[in-house]
């Protein structure tokens, strides 16, 4: 029995050693947050690179990127290239001296012919460029169903006042204006943070937004409070939002837009980023973008601040200065790579040389125009805040607020965690 057992064990070990991967080929290891269809798109983007250079791209996609990446970096075993979860994380890696400055091999002048200065600024820390943006998502969008709007005789509003008049008209007709869903597993609450950020940009100058993100103004500040109250007027209402606050808390964000396409519509408007199109088309494959669903910019609230663009973006940075990693970074910065990547996913390309015709439909082109023309662009604030706030107390604060906790308590709790998180 024992002999047989040890024989079995030894043979298994041998088998494992034989099947052990051999890394003889030139390769670059890449770690990203992309899984599923996004991972497929990423692999499609790197295919021409592998063919041209013979360098193999070993890609790992995990939704636990922040934790895994941090562990591997601290242990001195980082991937060659990694997607940065957010600019804040990039800055923290850069300040620890973990990242390779791209100026070592990339020319700023050449980059400026392809990227606006704003994108290069966002990818820099302390005046040094560390990361390249490969795609962007626009968030300041309100999705609606043009056919349902036409059938009920509703007009697309261009200001907040018009929007509220429209909402009340919908109520008078027995309809529900908004669909909101905040559920997103451990990240529940984040769709609400986008609301607050968009509202912040529309009730105060961008400098106030920056001060808020950098915690130079307190969470109990009047402007922040006003932003929460504007959001709460809709999300906490039993009439303005489909299903009332209970549904808002429990509907998965990816399913929440479905309410626009029932017959009769359960709701008429949904505020969400570009990527929600993918969910809509997956749930309702027969819908035609631009005809059955479309978007209008999240309207201006105070006229003087207009309609700034809130967004997020995917960025790559380099941990190991190998020739393969250099070649890879140069490739992803190119318009050619980004044309494949954004066309697959319907994202927007930061590289100016990308041909607008690669966008899959008019909605995406319209979003690209909006992003390009917006006088003010701001990065998703919760992505920029320290994780304890931006992906912690801000998320839970949104949930607490919608579930009925007094605003002052909610903001004081976030403020308490912020005082701690911004200290270092």
């Amino acid at each position: 029995m024992l002999k047989k057992f040890s024989l079995f064990f030894v043979s298994i070990c041998l088998l494992c050693l034989i099947t052990m991967p051999v890394h003889a080929q030139e390769s670059v290891t890449v770690m990203g947050v992309w899984t599923g269809a996004e991972a497929d798109a990423f692999l499609k983007m790197v295919e021409p690179f592998e063919e041209e250079t013979g360098i193999k791209v070993e890609f790992t996609g995990t939704r636990d990127l922040p934790a895994i990446l941090n562990t591997r970096v601290q242990a001195g075993n980082p991937p060659d290239v990694a997607a940065m979860p957010n600019p804040g994380q990039m800055a923290s890696f850069a300040s620890q001296g973990r990242l390779v400055p791209l100026a070592n091999f990339m020319d700023r002048e050449t980059l400026l012919t392809q990227y606006s200065d704003a994108w290069l600024q966002l990818g820099s820390y302390d005046g040094q460029l560390y990361s390249i943006f490969i795609s962007a998502d626009l968030k300041s969008m309100v999705w609606y169903n043009p056919k349902a709007f036409a059938a009920a005789g509703y007009e697309v509003p261009s200001t907040w006042d018009e929007l509220m008049v429209l909402s009340d008209k919908m109520l008078a007709d027995g309809n529900t204006p908004w669909a909101i869903g905040l559920e997103s597993g451990a990240a529940s609450g984040w769709p609400g943070t986008d609301w607050i950020e968009d509202i912040m940009l529309r009730i105060a100058p961008p400098e106030t937004y920056d001060a808020w993100v950098n915690h130079e103004i307190a969470w109990t500040n009047e402007t922040v409070m006003e932003a929460f109250e504007i959001f709460g007027k809709i999300a906490k209402s039993n009439e303005y939002v489909y299903g009332g606050p209970n549904a808002v808390l429990t509907i998965p964000f990816g399913d929440s837009a479905d309410a626009l396409f029932t017959d009769p519509p359960n709701a008429y408007m949904h505020r969400q980023a570009t990527f929600i199109k993918g969910f809509i088309l997956e749930h309702f494959p027969d819908l035609v973008p631009g005809e059955d669903f479309d978007f209008f910019p999240f309207p201006a609230i105070k006229e003087e601040y207009g309609t700034p663009a809130l967004g997020a973006a995917d960025m790559l940075a380099m941990f190991n200065d190998t020739p393969e990693a250099r070649a890879f970074m140069e490739y992803v910065a190119s318009a050619k790579a980004q044309e494949i990547w954004v066309a697959e996913l319907g994202k927007l390309a930061p590289n100016k040389k990308v041909d607008p015709m690669v966008y899959p439909d008019d909605i995406t082109r319209k979003a690209a125009d909006f992003l390009g023309e917006a006088s003010v662009f701001r990065f998703d604030g919760s992505d920029l805040m320290p994780a304890a706030v931006g992906s912690g107390s801000f998320w839970t604060g949104i949930l607490d607020y919608v579930s009925g906790e007094p605003l002052r308590n909610v903001l004081m709790q976030i403020e308490a965690s912020a005082l701690d998180a911004y200290r270092d």
């Binding site: 029995m1 024992l2 064990f9 298994i12 070990c13 088998l15 494992c16 099947t19 052990m20 991967p21 290891t29 770690m31 947050v33 992309w34 899984t35 599923g36 269809a37 996004e38 991972a39 070993e58 890609f59 790992t60 996609g61 995990t62 939704r63 636990d64 895994i68 562990t71 591997r72 601290q74 242990a75 001195g76 075993n77 991937p79 997103s184 597993g185 998965p252 964000f253 990816g254 399913d255 479905d258 990527f275 993918g278 969910f279 997956e282 749930h283 309702f284 494959p285």
Partner: protein
């Protein structure tokens, strides 16, 4: 006859309670199973219980989720990887723990009590705390990204509990056996090999289940020590990568859960009789 009836009446509340608990436990799994056979559009628009209205209307079921999971490129390789990880990561700690538990229970040596408490005390150390220091050591030894490294990692994480459970069982064996074998001139290793090990089969079997399921379902340890590249990634890593980063295609997870459950289920259902027999044999001989 009468006493039987009485027994039944006395036990009835107990049975009802057990059945209710069993139903509560199995309820989410049934939901998962039904969801795994539903098309994604249905999953998005209605709950799984709606199929119970017409349970025999087979047009509402589909195998497409299973097809998508099984035909996903690299899933076969991931299955092999999981086996390569799981089998040594199960056998290694159990072999070591059997030796250790025997020594702690029946051998006299200096500091026995202290070392035992030290090992079992390691149970309270959270795994996450060890990730960075151990990965650093692995980097220096060239073990990160290799199967050998993850065998050691899993063996180390499993050992405290496995030693503790094995100790409980082995220390309960009757001391007369050890005394008489020693008098007959058996060395400690002979005692271990011909008495302790055969008698511990039931304990080993049930502890193997614990360790097997823990390693089989592990995602974090594999991602950190092994990385997620297709040539080494286990099933859990592949499966978690099926879902988009915004949670798209989560209905695939329901099917994937059953695909990854299949092997453990087959093993344990088919070996169940053997486990029970092992326990009986042990009790009679002891």
């Amino acid at each position: 006859m009468k006493t039987k009836q009485n027994n039944f009446l006395i036990n009835a509340p107990m049975h009802v309670f057990v059945i209710i608990v069993a139903i509560i436990w199995i309820f989410p799994t049934v939901g998962l199973l039904i969801t795994s056979f539903r098309p994604s559009a249905d999953v998005a628009s209605s709950g799984w219980w709606t199929v119970l209205a017409h349970p025999f209307n087979f047009t509402q079921f589909t195998l497409s989720n299973y097809r998508d999971v099984i035909t996903n490129i690299g899933i076969g390789r991931a299955f092999v990887n999981t086996l390569i990880i799981t089998i040594p990561a199960c056998t290694l700690p159990i072999i070591i723990a059997s030796f250790a538990a025997y020594a702690f229970a029946w051998m006299e040596f200096w500091g026995r009590r202290f070392f035992f408490i030290l090992f079992v005390g390691l149970l309270v150390v959270p795994l996450q705390m060890t990730l960075i220091p151990i990965l650093r050591i692995f980097n220096q030894l060239g073990l990160s990204g290799s199967f050998v490294g993850i065998w050691f990692a899993h063996a180390g994480y499993g050992l405290p509990l496995v030693i503790y459970l094995m100790y409980n069982y082995i220390s309960g064996l009757p001391s007369e056996m050890f005394e008489s074998s020693t008098i007959d001139g058996a060395t400690p290793f002979q005692i271990f090999k011909s008495i302790v090990l055969p008698l511990s089969i039931p304990a080993i079997a049930s502890i193997t289940i614990f360790q097997f399921i823990w390693v089989w379902n592990d995602l974090l340890v594999a991602l950190v020590y092994l990385g997620g590249t297709p040539d080494v990634a286990p099933l859990t890593v592949r499966i978690s990568a099926l879902v988009g980063s915004y949670g798209q295609n989560w209905e695939l997870l329901t099917a994937a859960a059953f695909v990854s459950m299949a092997l453990p289920l087959i093993i344990f259902l088919s070996l169940q009789r053997y486990f029970v027999r092992g326990i009986m044999a042990g009790s009679i001989k002891g």
